[in-house]
Each structure stands twice: as structure tokens, then as C-alpha cells.
Symmetry: C2
Subunit: 534 residues, 2 copies
């Protein structure tokens, strides 16, 4: 991979803002927030002093292992590089970063680590927001295994619409390889540009589809996972009733059971038919009530994103107090005219207001037409470019901005929303003297929504951003669990969500997971501290 | 339960044919097949001599335990009672049949068995066709735990469309309880009348929906399972990305890990809108090619059943050589007129012939109108009445008739169909001097079909039906595995499918399953021999 990813923001080095641009951003923000913000100078990689590697790979593995400062620094973090990289803060880097190019090299590195008792951290795109790839403190030697050299689409079965794909491929590169054949995986998490197929599977990523098959789980036909006890390879079948599904053991295992090397994935024909509309609702309650009815009618729109009034106003310019629902259908084969009409009929019945100029139907065009209006504004605000650039512009300024998400039944949703909002506002008050919070639904099910909250501290109080995040996160997570939500709908557990995952996960299931780990990873070397205790 | 289920056929005792009716059936069949068939007299329950119970439950449990001959005989088999009950063949009955009425009684019986080292076989409806509830030979004392006294819908969350339901409820009784509230689970396996919610979950039953959410797996929101190590209870959430899904450990565990006592299930509004049509294709290949295209267009019809020419002719009267595709849509909210038009457009493009008189659209009626024509004929032939009566009429006549099923990718499907057909015909030739075989798709996925085969021996050769079944089963199963299919799409593994399941299941996953079992069932008392070795 010739691509150089940034050490301190989510995106490419080539997209990093200059020091001058960051100073200007700090000045703008200082004025807006009424506090003095400084843009720190980011230490050049040449000046970084990392702990000396505690181990050295043998000659036979040296060809695909790296120990240089940049590679070790890069693999010290997931998305939290935004909080640390800007300070040159690398107290605990991996000792070796392996980039195996084949199953054989993958076997060799895992065997070496297992024999030596070194910890192994599987690394996809490094977009984890939950500490899923961060070597924990006080640990022995760590080998981070990046899959980035295993990035090919190996085989396409056009008849069954499935493809055999190596786990290390990043989103854009995967789509590039499928596009000439007329196919797409159509899995577009917000991290798309900086995350990989293997990472999506290991963390049960939530993708493009807002309804029906939302998680990557549903697109896995079969997979291969290397464990210290050998390969676990499932059979390629559309569906089965033969015992507990072995794929479901690997899906969501977050690197604690093995390293996923490839998968047969269900792929889609590239969409040529689209229909979309924006609906406004006088109130937030009216918006989610309509969303529930559309989800329960099982029209299965690809997009069904509801924005609360705060977010609708700030990102799409919707009028005060109104919630905004964006509905979208797509298909490779069939006009979606009737589906959007049905969805809008339900939305209108539920009190929604539809601007006819905002209803678009495209029948058979290869590329989406330019999209202005409300939906266009929203897309601009939310969909990062292919490089993922721009997401780290605030790094190091001390601004407290973060997200958390869950899923909950419709019955419990109103109370969860109330309590999460008051707990989060209270925590923001204490840590930042106030702040703002908005919510959207990223995914919606017949039995409940998956709400996604974004908060921004009003005035950073000199407290480190990570500490303020921690306070907000604790308050919100406690409220989520207390109201029947899950600690994560699609951000995974990692190390950050452990305290709440431990409450949510049935105690006996924890024991089963540990038994599975003892079987597949008897030395306990894989991703210690993630999901379960070592 | 006042209902008395038949000891020797699948259905109620009240629906058993008389001896005279069976003699007449034997005479008719003798003439048709050109062999001498006898209808044996079925020994009355009063004359049955069963092995004395080897254990007696203590006083405290006696109130919900039975040891009478009828109950022990009934719980000796699943669907294979059809092969044994008619001869009064009960060499290995359970010693105790417990009918716990509450979680407390369930705990008490499991604790007693675990302490005593007695084997426990969880029993739902007893519709297993794979020996899933049959005490194996040479085993110590066996306690069969029937859930039939735990058969209530406990709670309905109409907002989220979910219901908390006890595992022992039979299909019709479950629907009866949901109907007054306007809801339905809409899970209608062919065994519907004689199987239970807990059995469906434990065996990953395939239901009513031919596409999209086909297995019961997708309808489980959360569940409770009692294991010898305690309760495993999952959280009620619409979806989660928090680690491997704990529900998926219990779903398909076939009673080897615990006893499922209840589940929160996703329920549906009762359908009021329907659209259906029958399409004929000049050839079998043309039929499945069209079916593939409809499935891949993701219209998600509730029904998408393709009948091969043999079956189309015998069950629906379709002309020689033609395959028949039955397409059906349904909804509680929305007209399905546009969906059926889209599906028919694809079918016609693919060479299908649609009789306009066979296209029905019902917009908003509470009950389906009477259905004649091709689809009506097919329904008559396939859907057993609520009592499940009539399925055992051939029991004991020596007629060899059975079914097997799988799922396979579209790419591998043509070869699988060829090889399964030739292997099965060869086995029928050897065991029955010939026979017939037909195929239909019960469920269809974008990446492959779930074909279901039914065979009938031309002339039973005096060989016991079970032996002839074994020969056919072996031949067909070997072909299925060799061509990339799964040993079962929805009949489960039980004891019968073990040799092929052992080939299909990843070896490391078998080790994980055993580790899970050691954790949840350290005494190894639960359903020995099913899925994995004790």
C-alpha cells in the first residue's frame, strides 16, 4: 500500500491540514466558543521517541514485518489517534507490525507469536472508536498483525452474486475491484474509507442499509479465520439449519478468537433505480412515530434516516423544531416509484409534510444525478469523502465532540431518549459548562430504532478531551443500559465498552466465550482485554 | 393439555384412520404398486409392555412427572413414531416424562436429573424427523422433559410488535392467543400443528416466508434457556453489535446446551393485503433460472415456491414437462399489486407463462378468499390441516416415502440437482426396484435455493421401511455434501444427520461446541449424541 495514513487524524497524510490552517480553525472556534484554544504543533515523525522493540522477528519473517517508528506509532491506536497522535503520545506501541501477504505468512507470524508467548492484535483499518486495536498497558511484547497486504477480490461468482474477498481490503479498494463487474458490496459505514472487510466482520459493522440487512453479519456467506489452534473455515451456503451457525462465532469476535483472513460475501448489482424523498415532521415524536410505521410496513428502504430537530436544523437547514426523515430506495433491477409512494403515504398519514420538489425518482440511470436540496445538504454534512479527510481537523484543540449509539425496542425508546439526553447534558454541564446533543436514527427495525447521538462540549475547560469524553460516555452508557438498550449497535465493544458489555452480556455466555477462547487460543495471546478478560 | 396425540402417526389420536380404512388403503396401494401390502393391526396401548422405569422422581416432583405406559411410549420417538409405533416397538422408552408448569419446576427437574446423573431429553412437539428426541440405546436412565404445560403468550408489546411466549406452545395454540390482538407469528413449518416454539428455536426451523427472513432465527428478539449451570437469558433488543450474538448459541443447539423456556418473538400484523400468481415454465431449468432472478431482485415475496415438472403435474395438474412457480406477497398495511406485477414481469422475461385468471390481488380483506385453480390444488396437496391429521395413513404398510432437503449456491445447484437425482434413483432401484423423486424449492435466497426432495419407492421389497430410508438417505446425503450443500436447511441435525454434519461442520467449531457444552452442561446429561458426541 503506497497510501500513507495520517498519524493523528482519521484519513490520509496527504489530507492533513497545515499548521496554519489549524491555527486559523482554533482562532475561529475560540471566538465562537468564547475560550482560548490553541492548535498545538504536531511533532514530526522524525522526532518521536518510542520504546525500543522488546522482540525481533526471525529472519524468515523479516520480509513482511516492520519495526520502524512510523509504522509502530500508526498501529498504536484506532480512531483514538485523534486524541493522542497530535501530542506524539505513544507510551505503548506494538513491538512488531507484521503485514503478511498470504495465508502462509499469516500462519508463520501467528505461530511465532504463540510459541514466544507474545500478544497478537489483529489490525484492519484502525478505525476502532472503542480501543479495539490498542495494546493495553503493562502487557508483554505485542505483535500487531495488519491485514493490509491481503486486499484482493479473489473470485466472483456472478451467478450466485457472491465474491471471495481478502479481509485486509479497505472499502474504496474493494468497491474498485467489484465495479468493473457491475457489482458492489454496498457496505458503507461512516468509516468506509478507513476500514476493512475483516474489521467489519470482526466488529459486526453496521452499513449502508438502514433497514432489513443492516449489519455485515447478513452478508457473510462463509469465512476463514486463523486461530492458534488452526484454521476455522465455514462452508459456502446460502442458509443452513445445521446446528448453531459457526459464522456467528467469528462475526463479532473482535480478534479475540482468531484472525479473519477472507470471506465469501454476498454482493449486489450496482443500483440503477432510485427513489428518495425528505419528509419533515412538526415534532421529534411525530418523526419517530412515522419512522416506526414505515419500518413495520416492511418496505425495507435502503435509507430511513431520521434527524432530530437540532440536527435537521444544523445539517439540513430544516425549520425550527422540525424533525427530518430521509427515505431512499434503490435497486439494480426495478423501479422504486411505487415503494417511495407507499412510504410517503404512511409518512403523510403520520403527519409528515412532503415537499414534492424533494421527491426524486431515477429509473435506470447508471449514476445518481446531482442531489441538491435538503438531502444534498445532509449528505454533504455526513458522508466523508473517499479519503476520509477532514475528520481530524479539530484534533488537539481541546474541543469535546463525540458520538455514541445503541438500539432499543420502540416501547423503551421514549424513556431511553429522555434519560440519555438528560444524563448527557448533565455530564456536559459538569465537564464543559454545557454543550449540545443531537440524535439521528442510523438504522431502523420493526421492533425498534438504532439511535446515534453526537455531542459537542460548549466550552472545553482545559480538561483533556479524553477525560471529558470519558465522563460523558459513562453517563450516557449508564442511561442506555438502564433503559434496556445495547451498549453498541455497530461500534463494537473493544476495551472502552467493556464495563457495560459485561452488564449486558449474559454471565453464562461470558463463560462460553472464555471456553471458546481457551479452545481456539489456548495461550490467550489474541487481543487481550477485548470482549472478555484474559 | 386435553389433546391426545397419536402414538403411531403425526397428528391427533382422534384423527387416526380405523383399521378398516387402513386395510382399504393397503388394498388400493397393493393394486397400484403391484405388490401385496398388509395393514398391520396396531397394538392397543393397554397391551404394550415397556421396560420398567429405572428411576422414580421424588415426591416433590411427582406432581408434574408421569411414568404411565402411554406417556412413555409417546415420548419414545419424534416423527419416527410412524415407523415404530405401528408395531408397538418401544425398546427404549424414557423412564420419566416431566411436564413442568413453571420455571421453578423446570429448575427442579433439571437439578434432580443432574444430581442423579440421569440423561435429559428436551421435548417440544415431537416432530423431529432426525431422531432429535429419541433416547439412544445403551443409555442410563432418561428423563424426557416435555414443555407442553408451558404454553402461554405471557406478554405482548404491540408497539414494538413482539411477544413473550413460553416455549411449549404448539403452533395453532400460539396463533389462537395472538389472533384476538390482531397479530400472528406467521411461522408455519409443515409440522406447524405438531411442533412448538421451543422446538422451532432449538432446531432453526424454516417457516412460512420463502424469502428474506426464512428461519425462526430472525424472529427471536431474546430468549431464556435453562442449563445445568443456570439460566442464560439474553437482552431484548432489536439488534446489536456487541460481541458474538448470544442468541445464536442457543438457536440451533437442539437441546444439547439447555432447555429453552421462553422467548420474546417478533410478531406480525395479520395480513390483509395479498397478491399471488402461478407461472409455468416449459422446463425445470427455465423455472429455477426465473426464480433466481426474482430472488435476486429482492422483492422478498412471502411465497416463492417452485415445483419441478413431476410435482407440478402430480399436485397441481400442470401439463407435462412444465415447472410451476407460485409467487405470493402479503402485508398487513400495503397493497401488493405493484410487487406481484414486478415479479411477474421478471418471470415473463425469463420465459414464464402467466394465466391472468391465476393472478389474484386482495386489497384489505381480513380473510383470504377461497382459492381454486392451480395454487388451490397445490395448497390442498401440501398444507396439512390444523390437526396434522392424515400424515400417518401409510404407516406400517411398508411403503417407502420420505423427504430430504438442503441449501446450495446457485452456481453449484445444477450439479447438485443432477447428482442427487441420480444417486437417489439408483438407491431406490436397489431397495425398491425403482421409484419416483420430485423436488420443490421451499425457500429461496439471492445466493441460492433451498431444494426439498420427496421420494417414493415403486415397490416395497419386504425390507423394513426404515432400512430402505436409510439407504436412500445415505446416497442422497453423500451427493448433497459432495456438491457443496448443507446437510439440512431446516430439518436439523439430531442423531440421523450426524455423519454428514460432522463433515460439514468445521472441526474447530466442533471443539468449541464441546467446550460450550462442558461449560453449560458439565455433567453431559443433555440430549446425548445430538450434534456432538457426549
Amino acid at each position: 500500500m503506497a497510501v500513507k495514513r495520517s498519524l493523528w487524524m482519521f484519513g490520509l497524510e496527504a489530507d492533513e491540514p497545515s499548521y496554519e490552517a489549524r491555527v486559523a480553525a482554533a482562532a475561529r472556534l475560540s471566538e465562537r466558543l468564547g475560550v482560548e484554544l490553541q492548535a498545538p504543533r504536531i511533532p514530526p515523525v522524525e522526532t518521536l521517541q518510542l520504546r525500543k522493540p522488546r522482540i525481533t522477528p526471525p529472519e524468515a519473517l523479516a520480509g513482511f514485518c516492520r519495526q520502524d517508528v512510523r509504522d509502530r506509532a500508526y498501529h498504536s491506536y484506532g480512531y483514538d489517534r485523534v486524541d493522542h497522535g497530535v501530542w506524539g503520545n505513544y507510551p505503548n506501541p506494538p513491538d512488531v507490525v507484521a503485514h503478511p501477504r498470504s495465508d502462509e505468512e499469516l500462519e508463520a507470524i501467528l505461530e511465532w507469536a504463540d510459541n514466544g508467548g507474545f500478544y497478537v492484535i489483529p489490525f484492519g483499518g484502525g478505525s476502532s472508536v472503542v480501543g479495539g486495536v490498542t495494546p493495553p498497558d503493562d502487557l508483554g511484547p505485542v505483535v500487531t498483525v495488519s491485514l493490509d497486504a491481503m486486499d484482493r477480490v479473489l473470485e466472483v461468482d456472478a451467478t450466485s452474486r457472491a465474491a471471495r474477498i481478502q479481509a485486509g481490503v479497505f472499502g474504496p479498494h474493494l468497491e474498485e475491484q467489484l465495479r468493473p463487474l457491475g457489482f458492489t458490496l454496498r457496505h458503507f459505514p461512516q468509516s468506509f474509507a478507513g476500514s476493512t472487510l475483516g474489521g467489519w466482520i470482526a466488529t459486526r459493522a453496521g452499513g449502508h442499509y438502514a433497514t432489513n440487512h443492516t449489519h455485515i453479519d447478513d452478508f457473510v456467506e462463509s469465512l476463514r479465520m486463523l486461530t492458534p489452534s488452526g484454521w476455522l473455515e465455514t462452508r459456502r451456503i446460502p442458509a443452513s439449519g445445521a446446528g448453531p451457525d459457526p459464522n456467528r462465532l467469528a462475526i463479532g469476535s473482535e480478534g479475540v478468537l482468531g484472525i479473519i483472513s477472507e470471506a465469501w460475501m454476498r454482493i449486489q448489482l450496482r443500483p440503477r433505480f432510485r427513489a428518495s424523498a425528505a419528509v419533515t415532521f412538526p415534532t421529534w415524536d411525530g418523526g419517530w412515530e412515522a419512522t416506526r410505521r414505515i419500518a413495520q410496513a416492511k418496505l425495507w428502504p435502503a435509507n430511513l434516516r431520521l434527524l432530530d430537530p437540532e440536527l435537521a436544523r444544523s445539517s439540513a437547514g430544516t425549520g425550527s423544531g422540525a424533525a427530518l426523515l430521509i427515505i431512499g430506495f434503490e435497486s439494480g433491477e426495478l423501479s422504486q416509484r411505487s415503494n417511495i409512494a407507499d412510504a410517503l403515504s404512511i409518512a403523510r398519514d403520520a403527519g409528515g409534510v412532503v415537499d414534492d420538489a424533494e421527491v426524486r425518482v431515477e429509473d435506470g440511470s447508471e449514476r445518481p444525478t446531482g442531489r441538491g436540496g435538503t438531502i444534498g445538504a445532509w449528505r454533504e454534512a455526513f458522508i466523508p469523502g473517499a479519503s476520509g479527510g477532514g475528520l481530524g481537523g479539530l484534533a488537539g484543540l481541546g474541543v469535546v465532540a463525540g458520538t455514541f449509539e445503541t438500539a432499543v425496542t420502540w416501547e423503551s425508546w421514549p424513556e431511553l431518549d429522555d434519560r440519555v439526553r438528560s444524563a448527557t447534558h448533565e455530564a456536559l454541564q459538569v465537564t464543559c459548562g454545557g454543550g449540545s446533543l443531537n440524535c439521528r436514527f442510523t438504522h431502523v427495525y420493526p421492533d425498534g430504532p438504532a439511535p446515534y447521538y453526537t455531542y459537542v462540549g460548549a466550552r472545553p475547560q482545559g480538561m483533556k478531551a479524553a477525560e471529558a469524553h470519558g465522563a460523558v460516555k459513562r453517563a450516557a452508557s449508564d442511561a442506555i443500559l438502564a433503559c434496556g438498550g445495547t451498549i453498541t449497535h455497530h461500534h463494537a465493544v473493544g476495551r472502552l465498552h467493556r464495563p457495560w458489555y459485561d452488564q449486558e452480556r449474559p454471565a453464562l455466555f461470558a463463560r462460553v466465550l472464555r471456553a471458546a477462547k481457551s479452545t481456539l487460543d489456548p495461550g490467550g495471546i489474541l487481543n487481550p482485554g477485548v470482549l472478555i478478560d484474559p
